[in-house]
Structure formats: C-alpha cells, structure tokens
C-alpha cells in the first residue's frame, strides 16, 4: 500500500532528485503519519501541538503523537505565533561521508532542512539559511513568503561538503549575527571537540535563541559494521589508524554512545533540543522534534 509515508525513508527519498519535491514528500509523509488525511487541517487550520491540559477537549488529543512520544498533545488549528527559524548547515568534508547508505550525512541534512523549510514556510514562519565550515559562509535572511522556499531550497541544492570545520566558531558567529530571538536548527555531525561547541551553544542560549541540534551521523559511524583488520582514514586530517574491527565494535559503540550522552547531558542542562540521527533513520523523528519545539515557543 504505497503512501506518502514511504517518503520518510531516506532510501526512498533518494530516488527523488528535486529537492523541493523531496521536501514536499517528506512533509506530506510526516503529516500523513500524524493525521488521517494528509491535507486535513494542513497549513490553514493546523498550527501546532501543545501539551494537553485540564479543560482541553479530549477529542483534540493527537493519539498518533501519543503513540510516538507517550505524552498527551492536542492539535492547535490556528497559528497563534510566528517563529523565525535558521537552518544552520555544516559544510565540513566529513558531512559528505557515507559507507553504505543511499544518502550521505550531508544529503540527509539537506533533505531534512528542506523538509523543515517547507514545513515552516507553510506555517507562515519566516525561515532563513546559514552555512558554515570553519566560519560562517553564507546566509539567507529569514522570510515567510512562498518564494523563500524556492530560494532556500535552490541554495541548499547547490551546497557541497568540503573543507574543515570549526563548529564552535561558526555558532558563535551565528549568535552574534542574530538580532531577534530565533530558532536555530544546526545540522552537523559534531565530530569536533565538544567543549567549544558547548560554549557556543550556551552563547546562543544566552542570546535567547532556541536551538535544535540535529546530530547526524552515518549509519556506519554508529554501528561500526566493519569486519576483520581495517585501516581507517580520517578524511579531513588524513590520519590513519589500524584496528581489528570485530573486537573493536563493542568499544566503538560504547564510545559513540558516550559521546552522544555527553551532548545529551549538556544540551539538557543548557536547554537545547538534541536530536540523534543517523542516515538510516526516517525523517519524521527530526520533524516531530521541530514541531515540539515550535509548540514550546508558542
């Protein structure tokens, strides 16, 4: 039974070459998962979800969200607030890596960013774009017009992951650039020292911005699927190391988990939303996280 939900799968969305269509299909697939009809209440009526409170009509409870989050949310059908969103894309070379997935980390991030852009524009929220590697490279000012969507998507489609990265510095520059309270959505693999990144995040939060970290890793970087003796080369530094993959997998997975734990803990302490993703996961997790954050601001 083919439905648009299939477009939540990276391997499916990879077959669609146009980014705008990708974004459209992802969002539709996501929304179809939330509603009985993909277009019911979409755009005009549906605004956001908020936490169920005493006095709310129980029939407004979104049971699908409950099923996914184990929390009661009710749908709001009118946009009550507008939020300015920035899509911050990491252009480091490591983002272009994939071992055996259809989408690289960068492709995955672009697709996700496009979907979010699509979603925000349709909610009449202004959305802008910032790219960075060792420093902030380009930026598109946030607008909520329909044309913004095409503009952002076209820009996203041109981006290439090259060079080294300095996330902390880039985020600091973004923080300095933003004049109003915004929602900053960072798409990166964060394969850098975590301390400066946390410092930059705290700086963003200090500026009153909401931050969602989409921590995107390749599926191979999470599961370490290699066998036997392997020599691994870091693409940015060209550093090489030999390990026995079979005997190292457990340690590696533990190390990745430890790294994520660190981010999870720090983000929790600083009030940053942290979304762990790998390139084998569906996009709905990221979109849902956005919606929850959107509601919180509302």
């Amino acid at each position: 039974m083919p439905t648009v939900e299939k477009y939540l799968k990276p391997e499916v969305i990879n077959q669609i070459k146009r980014l705008d269509l990708r974004a459209q299909f992802v969002v539709r697939g996501f929304l179809q998962g939330l509603h009985a009809s993909p277009f019911q209440g979409f755009s005009v009526e549906f605004s956001e979800h908020r936490r169920y409170a005493v006095g709310d009509d129980p029939k407004d409870i979104d049971w699908l969200v409950y099923a996914k989050t184990d929390k009661y949310y009710v749908k709001k059908f009118e946009a009550e607030t507008n939020i300015t969103g920035y899509l911050a894309m990491d252009l480091s070379q490591s983002m272009g890596y994939t071992y055996r997935q259809e989408l690289s980390k960068f492709d995955y991030a672009i697709c996700l960013a496009a979907a979010l852009c699509y979603l925000m524009i349709h909610q009449q929220d202004p959305v802008g774009l910032v790219t960075f590697d060792e420093r902030m490279r380009e930026s598109i000012s946030p607008k909520s017009k329909r044309a913004q969507l095409g503009h952002v998507l076209a820009h996203l489609a041109r981006l290439k992951p090259t060079g080294k990265t300095d996330i902390a510095n880039s985020l600091s520059q973004i923080a300095a650039m933003l004049r109003h309270k915004s929602l900053v959505m960072v798409f990166s693999d964060f394969l850098v020292d975590s301390g400066p990144v946390f410092q930059a995040l705290r700086q963003l939060r200090h500026g009153g911005h909401d931050v969602i970290l989409f921590h995107i890793l390749d599926e191979a970087e999470v599961t370490f699927p290699f066998n036997g003796k392997v020599q691994l080369e870091e693409p940015e530094t060209e550093e090489k190391i030999e390990v026995d993959a079979n005997h190292f997998r457990q340690d590696y997975v533990a190390e990745v988990e430890s790294f994520r734990d660190e981010y999870r803990r720090e983000c929790y302490q600083t009030g940053v939303d942290y979304v762990e993703l790998d390139t084998s996961m569906q996009f709905d997790k990221a979109l849902l996280e956005y919606l929850l954050s959107r509601r919180a601001r509302g």
Partner: protein
C-alpha cells in the same frame, strides 16, 4: 623417561608454525575512509593491548597443542615410580593455564589490581612449583634415556625345579607350566638379548668357591633363543633343590655380569612356604644391591588351593637291628585340602643275596611284600601318625617303603623309602672286677629263656675280669661294658680308645671301685670318658632319685612312650654317686638325678659311642662290708631293666654302624672293613645304570645321590655281599602351603619386585617396567584439552558482535 618414537619429538619444532604465523603472517588490513576516527582513537590502545594478550594466549595454547601432539606421537614412557610426579606436574600445568586465563581475563575486564596481582602471583608460584618438580623428577628417577623398546636386555630366567613343581594342576605340572610360560617369554625379549637359565638343580661347581661361581655365572648367557628354549625344554624336577636365596644370588650375579643397560630376572615359582623360607632374609647386601638394579618378576605358577597328601617324615625304631628285635616305623601323614582319610601301606623287600642283577637290560630286585596297611583318619587335624610294627625280619639288608595308596596332585611325596640292616644278636662283652655281680646285667640283656630260644637282642659271653681285658680282642663285640671298674691301666684305656674310635661302643657303670680317680682322669682316659670324676655325693635320707627331664635322647626311647607318672623312680633311691665335674664339651647328659647332677652321660668318640653312668646298676649281693650305692635293683625293678636295654640298644645302634637313610643329595659314607667286606661294589642307583664304586680308607663314598629311592651295593667276598641305603626327599618337600605375599614385600620391598600370574600380567608388568608408564593417553587428553580450550577461546575472542 624413554620414547618409542624418539624421532617424533622433532615434531615439536612445528611449534614454530603458529609463532611464524603470529609474528610474520599478519593479515593485511582493509582500508576505509572513516570520519569518526576520534571514537576509535579513544579506546584503540586499550583494545590493542587486550587483543595482543588474547593473541599471545591463543598462541600459547596452539604451541602447547603442537607440543602435546608431538610428545604423544613420540610415545614417551616414564618410570612407574615417577608417574605420580608427572601427573602432579600435569595438574599443576593445567592449574597454571587456568590461572593464566583468569589473569588475562582480569586484565581484559579491567578488574582491580588486587585480582590481577594475586592471580599473577599464584601463576608464578604454580610455574615455579611445576618447574622444580620437573627438575626433581628428572634428577631422581629419570634420566632421559634415548632408548627404544628394541634395545637388548639381560634376562635371567630362574626356574624352581624342586620336586614340588611336579604338582599337577589343570593337567599340567607346575614345571610344565613354568616351561611353557618361559618359552613364550623368550620370544618377548628384544633381539640379541642376553639370556641365562638358572634352575634349582645343583651343578658340579656348587662346592667351589664363590669366585668361581661368579666366573661361571658370567659365562652363562646365551643369545641364541633356540638354545635357551632347548635348555628350558630339558628342565626336570630334582630332589636336590638349591634354596631360593642361592638361586637369587646366582641370578643377581649373572645379571650384574651383563653389559646390557636393562636387566630383568624372572623367577618361576609355586610360591610355597617351603620354597621361600625365611632364609631369604639372609640375602647378602651385594645381592640386594644387584637386585635393585634389576627388574625382578616373581611369576607365580602355583595352584592357589592345592590338594595334597604327603608323608612328611619316617621314624624308624632302628636302622640296624638284631634279628629278634621288633621293628617299628612311624610315618607322619600330612594333608592339604579336603582329604578325610587315606590308606597307607608298608612294603618291605625280602632279603636276597643274588639280587639285584641286571638281566636283559632290566633290573631285577628282591620281591616286595606288603607288611602292613593302616587307615589314616585325619579327624579334622592336618596330620596324623601311622605306626607299623614288624617282627622277625630275616638277616640282611632290606629296602622298603611307606606309601600312600591312591593319587593326588603331587605323587613324589606319597612314598618314603627306608633301608634297614638286620643282623644276629648284638655281642656284648662284660668286664668286671672280681666280686662284682654281673648276673643282673647279663640277665637283663638276655634272659635265660631268650638265650635258650636264641631270641634275645644281645648275646653276652662269659664276663671277663678287668685284668684279662688287655689280652682280650674286642673286635667281635658290638658293646664292651665296664661294670664298676677299678682304675684301669693306660694300656687298657688305649685299647678301649682304639676300639671305640673304630666304631665300638663302651658302657661304663662307675661304683665302689673307682677309687682312686687318677686313672679315670688320666689324659688318655679323658679322651674317652664324658668328664672328670670329682667326688662322691652321698644321700643318706633316701631322697635322691633318678629324675628324667626331657626324654628326647634316643637312649631313653622306651620311656618316651610311657606316661611320666607311670615310672616309679621314687621307689629306687640313689644313695651315692660320682660327680662328673666338669662335663666335657663334647659330652651330653642323658639323664640327671634329682639334685641336677648328671646320672648318665654320653660322648661320641671317633665312630663309636661311650655311655657313662655315675652309679652302679647291679647293687645286689654285695661283698661283705659294701654298702649299696642305690636300690635300682630290687623287686619290680622294671625301670632298671628298661633303662639298661635302652642304653645298650642305643649303644648297639651306634656301634660301628653307619646311617642307611639319607636325604637326597647328601654324601654317603659307608664303613667298609677290608677284612670282612669286598673293596669293589657295583652300585645300582635308581634311574641309573649300575656303576662300580671302590672303597678307600676303609669306607665307601657315594656322591651322586640326587635321586630318591633305594641304592643297592653288590660285591663279592667269599660269596655275594649285598648292602644298601636309601635316599628320601626333605621333610618339607611336599609342603605346598603357600607363602604370604607380604613376605615378598618384606624381602624385596613393595617397589622391588612385580608379582605376576598370567601372561597378560607379565606383558603389562614388563611393558610398564621396561618402558615405564606410557604417557600417551595423558598427552592425548592434554592435547584435546588444549584444542578444546583454543577453540573455545577463539570462538569467544573472534566472535563477531551483532551490529546494532
């Protein structure tokens, strides 16, 4: 430690394969681009160290597996005594591997330092203990001999060929069983082994000195198995078996003379008490040391539950007797097993001067007559006495036998031979001073009725006075009796000394006339008499009597069969007697008085015998003024009568007569008077052709007496002269009672010998001691353990974790 396939130990070099693979043949890594290398860097060092430990551990297990495989294929054997040590070493080794695993595991799992250090220390302790034990074991028991089972050995096969080995069990005599096993054993020896066969039969060199025996022993090895087998085939039982101690000494000397590294002694025995007498404890130190260098196998071919009847011993009333004597013969019948009773026959040959004779190659001997048959009823006891009494045996030499009727396992001990000589009545010469009453003595020896009927055992000629003695020839008398003698002249003593040394018997009854005593204590007289005359002891209160204690002297034979209380010695007081002080060393007291002073003494002089009584025997009708010295002669004086007859019978049997009944193997000396007897005889020995023997120095010497039975001598001097004697087995020859194996343990030590019964046990024992305990099974188990452990750990170490 020995190896069957020593070359296979070179397989141990294959240990190099896993080492080379580990060190040089490492897998080439696959290359990948991987941005998240920072996660790898964090734990790479720890992981690398862990992997190296695992690799080294697996390498160790693989090397051990190769080593154990090579060791198992080389089939090592260790001395059984050190097997326990080797097993302990294996256990320690396994514990060490186990502790090493725990140690590695604790490092890999990052346990606390106490755990790592403690397991490491325990591992080092185990390794040290194991190494020390290996060194100690190698130093103590096991120089590593680079030998194989095919190396020649020195094998000494000792066969007990005593008569007991004729015992039939399962239709085979024990000697046949020994020979069969021995022949089989010969084929088990490696080629070119030195083989010696030793048997119980005494050889010609037995009487030579030890040095010569040793020389003979070194020359006794053969390498030709056929010759050894033929020697075994010709083995026969012998009545003259050497004791086991001597056989073992000879075997040890024989083995020690071999240059072979390995020496083995196989003793085929029925393990009876008779064979393994306690004289084995007298084994010389040199023999015991030699035996320690040898592997000693006691091969028990005896029956575990023997059934046998045997005649242990014959007791003849006399070997030489007068025609009118009663001849009694007592046989001790012994049983082993469940026999309730048996029949025993007494058989006696008739005297025939024409026989034996060899006719048409066949030996004709006098006719045998059965002279008695008795039923021996054991009544629950192990042995019973059977007694035969024969009267009126005619003059001449008679051979006879006592025989158990029927068959049992061992037949050689069912018959005992005996020889007796019957002659006319013993001639007795009584010498007495005038006025000494001789009538009582002559009447006691031969009464008037006996003389009339010519039925007496003694013939007493007219007594002569003491002064006539020097001119009287004594040759024709069996006994000369001095009755209450006066001091004798030196010539008289010299004459009597020559007479006794020539085989005559002298009876002296001291009394009133022996004063002064100087003549009796003269050196010439003291060569004859049992002691010096000291003084007279008087007893006026009539309280001194003859007081026989032990009655084991043959001169008191008749009293032995009487209840002690039935002899009324107290009715015959002794009033005076001579004291003999000191009693000569060669003398023996036959009877004492109540005051413990000797009453009757005897002394063996030359080939004759002297009996001295310290009080007169005929104290009646004394001359006026003489007071009696005793009241032995009186009414109902039957004890005196019996005592006189016993003493004279004892003297008669001793007078110039040689033994006629011997044990097999004893050298026989028979007196031969050239005046009366022929010098040359033809000897008809059992199981042998007749051959001539010649008398030298008035005696016949016969040495070849190994076969039991009657030996007949036939000569000619004014007509045929027939003599003879017989040979018997030793008393315990048929004693099949088995000895306790604990005795062997005492003699040789628990580790000093191996007790085996069957061929399988021999094979096992020989293999175990020749090659030691084989370690192959243990090594295979260890190899399996190593492989299993390696496989388990490999699976565990190289298990691909599930990709989440």
């Amino acid at each position: 430690m020995t190896f069957v396939n020593l070359s296979m130990t070179l397989g141990g070099l294959l240990i190099g394969i896993p080492i080379v693979l580990h060190l040089f043949m490492r897998q080439k890594p696959k290359q990948f681009i991987f941005p998240a290398i920072r996660f790898v860097q964090q734990r790479q060092k720890t992981n690398e160290r862990r992997l190296q430990l695992r690799h080294w551990l697996l390498l160790l297990l693989r090397c051990l597996a190769v080593a154990f495989a090579a060791a198992a294929l080389s089939r090592p054997h260790v001395d059984s005594t050190t097997l326990g040590n080797w097993l302990i070493i294996c256990v320690l080794g396994l514990l060490f591997v186990l502790v090493a695993l725990i140690w590695v595991g604790s490092i890999l799992q990052k346990r606390d330092r106490t755990m790592v250090v403690s397991t490491g220390l325990v591992g080092l302790f185990l390794l040290g203990g194991m190494s020390a034990l290996v060194l100690m074991t190698l130093r103590h028991g096991g120089e590593v001999a680079i030998t194989s089972r095919a190396d020649p050995i020195a094998a000494v096969l000792v066969f007990d060929t005593s008569s007991r080995m004729d015992y039939i069990h399962e239709n085979k005599t024990r000697l046949e069983e020994s020979k069969t096993t021995g022949s089989w054993l010969l084929n088990q020896f490696p080629a070119d082994s030195d083989i010696a066969i030793i048997e119980s039969r005494a050889g010609l060199f037995e009487e030579r000195d030890n040095t010569e025996q040793s020389t003979r022993a070194t020359a006794g090895f053969v390498r030709d198995r056929g010759a050894a087998e033929e020697t075994i085939r010709r083995l026969q039982t012998t009545a003259v078996g050497r004791p086991m101690r001597e056989l073992l000494q000879k075997a040890a000397a024989q083995a020690a003379a071999s240059r072979c590294e390995r020496k083995e002694i196989f003793v085929f025995t029925d393990l009876t008490q008779a064979a393994w007498k306690t004289d084995l404890a007298e084994l010389s130190t040199a023999t015991l040391e030699s035996l320690e260098d040898c592997e000693l196998y006691i091969i028990d071919v005896g029956a575990e539950d023997p059934q046998n009847l045997s005649i242990r011993n014959l007791h003849l009333s006399a070997e030489v007797l007068s025609r009118n004597d009663l001849f009694t013969i007592e046989a001790e019948i012994s049983r082993l097993g469940s026999y309730e009773n048996c029949l025993v026959d007494l058989q006696l040959e008739e005297a025939n001067l024409d026989l034996p004779v060899l006719q048409d190659g066949k030996l004709l001997v006098p006719t045998v007559q059965r002279r008695g048959r008795e039923v021996c009823n054991f009544k629950g006891s192990g042995s019973q006495q059977v007694r035969f009494v024969v009267r009126g045996i005619p003059h001449g030499v008679h051979h006879g036998s006592v025989k158990i009727i029927g068959e049992d396992g061992l037949s050689v001990d069912d018959v005992r031979h005996f020889s007796i000589k019957v002659q006319e009545a013993w001639p007795v010469l009584v010498v007495a001073p005038n006025r000494v009453n001789t009538f009582l003595l002559t009447e006691a020896l031969a009464s008037f009725e006996e003389r009339s009927a010519e039925q007496g055992s003694f013939v007493c000629e007219e007594p002569i006075s003491q002064v006539e003695l020097v001119n009287h020839s004594l040759e024709n008398y069996s006994i000369v009796c001095l009755l209450d003698p006066r001091p004798l002249t030196p010539d008289d003593w010299t004459q009597l000394l020559e007479y006794v040394e020539g085989g005559g018997s002298l009876a002296v009854f001291l009394g009133h006339n022996a004063n002064p005593t100087g003549s009796f204590n003269d050196p010439i007289a003291q060569q004859l008499l049992p002691g010096k005359l000291a003084r007279q002891t008087r007893n006026i209160d009539r309280s001194l009597f003859l007081a026989p204690g032990r009655l084991d002297h043959p001169a008191l034979q008749s009293f032995r069969s009487l209840p002690p209380a039935s002899v009324p010695w107290s009715r015959f007081p002794i009033l005076r007697h001579w004291d003999i002080d000191p009693v000569g060393e060669e003398s023996q007291v036959i009877l004492r008085y109540g005051n413990d002073k000797p009453a009757i003494l005897s002394r063996h002089v030359g080939r004759g015998q002297v009996v001295l009584m310290t009080t007169p025997i005929t104290e009646v009708h004394l001359p006026p003024g003489w007071r009696p010295w005793n009241e032995l002669a009186g009414e109902n004086d039957w004890p005196r009568f019996v005592l006189v007859n016993d003493l004279f019978r004892f003297l008669a049997e001793q007078s110039g007569q040689s033994r006629l009944n011997y044990l097999a193997g004893e050298r026989v000396w028979l007196p031969n008077s050239p005046l009366e007897q022929p010098i040359r005889y033809q000897l008809f020995a059992p199981q042998s052709q007749p051959y001539e023997v010649t008398a030298f120095s008035n005696r016949l010497s016969i040495q070849s007496t190994a076969v039991i039975g009657a030996y007949r001598l036939k000569g000619d001097r004014d007509g045929p002269v027939v003599r003879g004697f017989c040979m018997n087995l030793p008393e315990d020859a048929g004693d099949l009672l088995r000895t306790d194996q604990k005795n062997l343990d005492d003699w040789f030590g628990l580790e000093g010998y191996q007790y085996v019964r069957s061929r399988e046990e021999i094979e096992f024992g020989v293999r175990e001691s020749r090659q030691g305990q084989e370690l192959y099974p243990f090594l295979i188990v260890l190899l399996a353990l190593m492989l299993g452990l390696e496989q388990t750990l490999s699976n565990r170490f190289y298990k691909t974790p599930a990709i989440q």
